[in-house]
Assembly symmetry: C2
Amino acid sequence: MLEKKIITQLRNVVGKDAVLTSREDLNAYSYDGTTTWTHAPDVVVLPTTAEQVSQILKLADESKIPVTPRGAGTNVSGGSIPIKGGIVLCTTRMNKILDINKTNLTATVEPGVVLQDFNIALAKQGLFYPPDPQSFLGCTIGGTVAENAGGPYCVKYGVTKQYVLGLEVVLANGYIMNLGGVTVKNRTGYELIMLFTGSEGTLGLITKITLRLIPMPPANKTMMAVFDDMAVGGQAVSNIMASGVVPAKIEFVDNFVLRRIEEMTPMGLPVDAKALLLLQADGSPAAVEAESKQIVDILKKSGAKEIKVAKDASEAAMYWKMRSAGFAATFGAAHTVMAEDVAVPRDKLVEFIRKLDEISERTGFFICYLGHAGDGNLHPSIFTDIRNKEEFARAQKAMEEIFEAALSLGGVLSGEHGIGLEKQRFLKKAMDPVALNLMRKIKTILDPNHILNPGKIWEEERV
Amino acid sequence: MLEKKIITQLRNVVGKDAVLTSREDLNAYSYDGTTTWTHAPDVVVLPTTAEQVSQILKLADESKIPVTPRGAGTNVSGGSIPIKGGIVLCTTRMNKILDINKTNLTATVEPGVVLQDFNIALAKQGLFYPPDPQSFLGCTIGGTVAENAGGPYCVKYGVTKQYVLGLEVVLANGYIMNLGGVTVKNRTGYELIMLFTGSEGTLGLITKITLRLIPMPPANKTMMAVFDDMAVGGQAVSNIMASGVVPAKIEFVDNFVLRRIEEMTPMGLPVDAKALLLLQADGSPAAVEAESKQIVDILKKSGAKEIKVAKDASEAAMYWKMRSAGFAATFGAAHTVMAEDVAVPRDKLVEFIRKLDEISERTGFFICYLGHAGDGNLHPSIFTDIRNKEEFARAQKAMEEIFEAALSLGGVLSGEHGIGLEKQRFLKKAMDPVALNLMRKIKTILDPNHILNPGKIWEEERV
């Protein structure tokens, strides 16, 4: 528990309304989108300026109080759970879009801007910011930068780090540091911006972000393809990637997810399909016409049982809504859904799918999955019940086998969700020990008292 | 001078043929593409494996001998000049393309592979690696990663860092560290790969590189537009960027560069033009047709005096050869050509051009320039004579004014050439002091004896 004095000091910094201490409030900030952990903070602070963030961190650093940065709490690796208690520093009131510049193709935002609000503001000016984690309706841009978020569009357009040009970051000691700027090219010293991007709130508090934008592609077309066999669907993805056409999105949904979505929101989906691919071509109208024909052709040759091309924007929107509902659909399906995130080389997708099937059969756990097939990035989920200790331990063991299968194929522990609390145990298997040590040293330079998001990424610090 | 013992030890590591000590050889490695500095090393070593690099670095670290990494020496900020003597570690014999994977859209190469050799190998498989510094005919891929190189294609496709997925790096103590891998998404810990990318050889020796590729765009079209006024040409660039179409390249050449090129290689260029824009649209044939029409339309409306659309690949190649010759053309024009590299926000291009004109008029120095207008990245050159101390000092002062003009418009010291020796004096003006200090601390973690490319980036260490 924090001393009363600290609460008073925090109130002096941000005002009484911006310091939450009631049990209900603390509970509301005790979890994120991850199923396995919860932990309540001692206090939640909602600053509105970088200066306030600076004062909060100074205070916390002096008294060695843990500070867990939080946006909308949609994190799915435990990154925003205050596992060591202390302060949750929530950025949702820092939600101003400061600038959108159509000629420079950049925007500057505060960290608490909700991604979808940003997307809507950009669309009005014919602009586009591609990274699209499927929490886009609620997640904050600060969170997406701290996690270096991905999403369906990343197969063509790259992940968040490819769009960050400038950051204002408050360091653990309260110093407000400026990095980068508003130019698309910048070769001034080391890529420090990239160090903070994807650092999961462990190196500093992001208080301002300048992003590169691109013009909104004038046209797009959505296609859906149904397969009798998941591996055939996976091979179709490989065939598309090797063909020379780069779809804007190539998403993969399995039979279970498909059925669940159709149960929840009937939209006439082909519920017998073993696998469904959802694809989008975008660009100029002429390019979209040509590329979507090419994609449909490859899908046919690759053994798709049925192919639908969305006839208009509303049919396309229905398909993408289906994809967005994917996670929610799996989450309702069992008491505990261990939803994971791994990536394999794109040419190993079929082999990985076969390994998942094999693990499922051998362990007896049902494994469903969906994901960004064009990037080799899948989200396998294991259904279990955390209240049944023996079963849950077996489920964790099965998930471990999934990670090992991904690593053995040249894949990685996380494609887009980060390490957080979820994958600390596996980090040593997935990283060069000297690189891991380098991360620790950089952490200690920037946050010598380890107050920033303690207990994350590193195994030893876990409670 | 190095002890004889060291030379013997180096010969034991790499073989006699791979250790150069003659005066002629040392002179050949005493300079790079930068005009202002030269300094001979004590020895040049040409390893062929990471293990050899590791042994060389161990040896150097134990005896605190400076090691300057070098690819082809095409650097234009002094990065590969061994300003403190010691060892030049040249990677040109590590020149194997280890893997090109068309389905995974990745390639793995040794650092000494010449960029153009790589491009040719990729083209045979219909693949494309966009970053294209204009030294591509000679520069090594290791050098482009160490410098985070740019080039004309970057306006649409991004710079080198956006393509690096995996690195093998030998640290100062000889440890061979592996970072990243072959997946396009990877959220395993901090972005350490980005720390080495663009670190100008000061943090480690890159010995293996995995790069993301894209399919070769099936079609492209080149356009040339001539303007009576440089600022009008600059405004045309802004108009294109704000229009929603993203050309693959938008290059800018001024009247002086144009005349010089035509003198050197007559190709019927419009030598009276005050400014020339060279543009390329790429993508599917239909998209290229549509986008090039749109670009031509904007160029007309923006006041282009004359527009030519290359009728075939050979006419297009002639125009691009002209652009590639740009630097060479300026270099022959005076005893000392201070060719620089700055970037401004794209919507500040016209204002920056006006400032350059004003500086030229006031200081009396002729300033010519060319560059990547679509990125706001220009290369202004001042003609002077380093032998005339008084004049050279004034020229340096004028260049300083150019840097200040760029910074005052929200621009940056370097768009793509890096800091090297050239811009150390200005780094403090262009970076947050705490960020600069953070860079130093990271450097000291990785290279406690400061043997790796000493004298670069940091002012204090400059001889």
